[in-house]
């Protein structure tokens, strides 16, 4: 789950990271009011869950409350990389002397969190990472011990931070570590962390990704999810515990198991078709879940055929067949369906579907070819 900049910075502030004064607004008049309260120059920042906001014109510095209102009007009418802007953050503007990058992410290969820092922070950090990776300092953190003070000092020295800022930097690095740990983040990033005209460190921007698997123990964070920023079908799928991702093709897929779901998409493509979605109904899915999955697949008007590929293990093929029949009653689909049932109770499942006017297949390759042919004929 991605958090917005304003949400991330509020969390950082809770753990002692200094952030600019500011608030989030949904209308231009609200933006003006916040700018009046802050006084002086402010930054109007679009809150959308994609990178490159500045380059897209979604971040502007306003010299007066009137100008803040005008920029907010413009930005709230924008779409950035396909996502409509619904909120703007109004922050007091900072006079910047230097931009630093500071972040923590999970290093899969090392099986440890890694703190990364660079003296060359700001909008081009990805280019720095690609062209001059030696300018990014990486320090692994022992997940059982946490970030040690000496590690933060080493990082400060390695990025040539002025000595008078080392103590402050230690507080910020530690705060970022605590925020990362407390929120089960997979990424917690400050970019840029600036040295301002008063020689103080301030986190001007923040980004956090939260581990979806940990949301059961983070109820406050789970409520921060911005469902405006995902496809409605993906929100609906999550409600039923289905793993669903919408794609651009015309063959809907319902599969049990993530690896097999990806593979079914691949095999459709191999035989000249295009998958309309990734959908894993999970292990042990009952009829209700299967019916919900079918409704979601068929709500996509691009779908010209549906492939069901079920390898029964914990999941019982007869349960899946019952779900398919129940959903067909309700949705009355008018696209061809190809079904392949193998494994636990496959015979019973096939018998249930015998009168359902579905195309059957024995192997995955056979099923994919039949689905591709059906989609082209429709």
């Amino acid at each position: 789950m991605k958090l917005h900049e304003y949400q991330s910075k509020q969390i950082f502030a809770k753990y002692g990271v200094p952030i600019p004064k500011g608030r989030v607004a949904s209308t231009a008049s609200e933006a003006r009011q916040i700018a009046e309260e802050l006084g002086g120059r402010v930054v109007v920042k679009s809150q959308v869950l994609v990178g490159g906001r500045g380059k897209a014109g979604g971040i502007k510095v306003a010299k007066s409350p009137a100008e803040a209102e005008q920029f907010a009007t413009q930005i709230l009418a924008m779409e950035i990389k396909g996502l409509p802007v619904r909120k703007v953050l109004i922050d007091e503007a900072s006079a910047i002397e230097q931009e630093i990058y500071l972040g923590i992410t999970n290093d899969r290969a090392a099986r440890k969190p890694v703190m990364m820092a660079s003296a060359a922070g700001g909008v081009d950090i990805e280019e720095v990472a690609a062209t001059a990776p030696e300018k990014i300092i990486k320090v692994h953190i022992d997940p059982l011990l946490g970030l040690r003070d000496y590690q933060a000092r080493d990082i400060a020295a390695s990025i040539d931070l002025p000595r008078e800022n080392w103590r402050e930097f230690g507080v910020i690095a530690n705060g970022l570590w605590k925020a990362y740990k407390a929120t089960d983040s997979t990424l917690a990033e400050i970019n840029p962390l600036v040295i301002n005209k008063d020689k103080k460190l301030v986190a001007l921007d923040g980004k956090m990704l939260i581990d979806d698997n940990a949301l059961f123990r983070l109820p406050d964070l789970a409520e921060m999810r911005d469902i405006d920023e995902e496809a409605p079908s993906e929100t609906e799928a999550r409600k039923y515990g289905l793993s669903f991702i919408k794609l651009d093709g015309d063959i809907g897929c319902m599969v049990n198991g993530a690896g097999l779901a990806m593979t079914s998409m691949d095999v459709i493509k191999l035989f000249g078709g295009e998958p309309a979605n990734f959908l894993d109904i999970g292990g042990g899915a009952g009829a209700d879940k299967v019916a919900a999955a079918m409704r979601i697949i068929l709500s996509d008007p691009n779908v010209k055929a549906v492939l069901y590929n079920i390898f029964g293990g914990i999941t019982r093929c007869d349960e899946v067949a019952k779900g398919i029949l129940a959903a067909m009653e309700e949705v009355k689909p008018n696209v061809p369906m190809v079904v392949r049932l193998v494994g636990t109770n496959a015979e019973e499942g096939r018998a249930l579907l015998a009168d359902a006017n579905m195309i059957t297949a024995d192997t995955l390759a056979d099923a994919a070819q039949k689905a591709v042919a059906a989609a082209k004929g429709a």
């Binding site: 969190p113 690896g259 593979t263 042990g284 390898f311 029964g312």
Partner: protein, 287 residues
């Protein structure tokens, strides 16, 4: 011979009285696995499976009473990390965690702790292990595989079943099937299992089933080129997966342009591995 589990496995089931735990314990016992104990805190003293398997309050007590040498974990995700710590502290040398959805920061703590204790973990979010004809630890359906000389290692669940089933249809058997799981941080990786297969007398050929995300397949390719004498065939799932989207498994995601199926296939082919176009084709590459 086989790897990790065999007839001498003395299995303990953590979460044995839960729905999944009880169902799969029944299946494992029916397969012939020697299930010696179960653990559910607060239910010590009870028996399950018509008095065949005793239940204990803690792993430590269960190990002292029964000499269990392998543990399989079926507890819900929120309790899984604690279950792994408990098994490791009780001196169990091989832990297999089936549970899906364990937070990744939990797994980093678990993995770093278990490494210090030299405990082997398989999983989490995995189907477990199957040595056909000898023992099954986890949820792989026993009837889809026969005993043979092919070692199978996989990041996936049902995709692995698909491959075992295609092998059986060609009369090809497995020495051991190891499901290492689809999480970004897990216990056992491809290289660990490839090394075991290389040294296992029964295993003559290897099938490795990978998917998008991370760099474990690329590292396995380096290992295969440098150290493996036995032929390896492979399949990589997720060739049509879009970048930046988590494809069900927490670990199956293309991040920052890394972890694509194309990169993995290229690395494996360069190491002399034959990569199949679809899973049913894999066994034919080893015929």
């Amino acid at each position: 011979m086989s790897v990790l589990i065999n007839k001498n496995t003395r299995l303990l089931v953590q979460g044995i009285t839960g729905n999944e735990g009880l169902f799969h314990t029944t299946q494992m016992v029916a397969y012939g696995t020697n299930v010696v104990a179960g653990v559910t805190p607060g239910k010590g003293g009870e028996w399950v499976l018509d008095g065949k398997v005793p239940v204990f309050d803690s792993v430590k007590i269960a190990v002292e009473a029964t000499g269990a040498n392998t543990s399989v974990i079926f507890v819900p995700a929120r309790f899984a990390a604690d279950a792994m710590f408990e098994a490791a502290d009780a001196g169990i040398p091989l832990i297999v965690c089936i549970t899906e959805g364990v937070p990744v920061q939990d797994m980093m703590r678990v993995r770093n702790y278990l490494d210090q204790k030299k405990v082997r973990l398989v999983g989490p979010n995995c189907p477990g292990l199957l040595t056909p004809g000898e023992a099954k630890v986890g949820i792989i359906p026993g009837n889809i595989a026969i005993s043979g000389n092919v070692g199978v290692v996989s990041r996936s669940g049902t995709l692995t079943y698909e491959v075992l089933y295609a092998m059986k249809n060609l009369d090809m058997g497995a020495s051991t099937c190891v499901g290492i799981g689809g999480d970004p941080v897990n216990g056992t990786n491809f290289i660990d299992v490839l090394e075991m297969f290389e040294h296992d007398a029964q295993t003559e050929k290897v099938i490795m089933i990978g998917e998008i995300g991370g760099t474990d397949e690329e590292k396995a390719a380096e290992f295969i080129a440098a150290k493996m004498t036995k032929p390896v065939a492979s399949f990589i799932a997720g060739q049509t997966a879009p970048p930046g989207k988590r494809m069900g498994h927490a670990g199956a995601i293309i991040e920052g342009g890394a972890g694509t199926a194309a990169d993995k296939i290229a690395a494996l082919e360069a190491a002399g591995v034959r990569v199949a176009k679809h899973p049913e084709e894999i066994p034919t590459l080893l015929k």
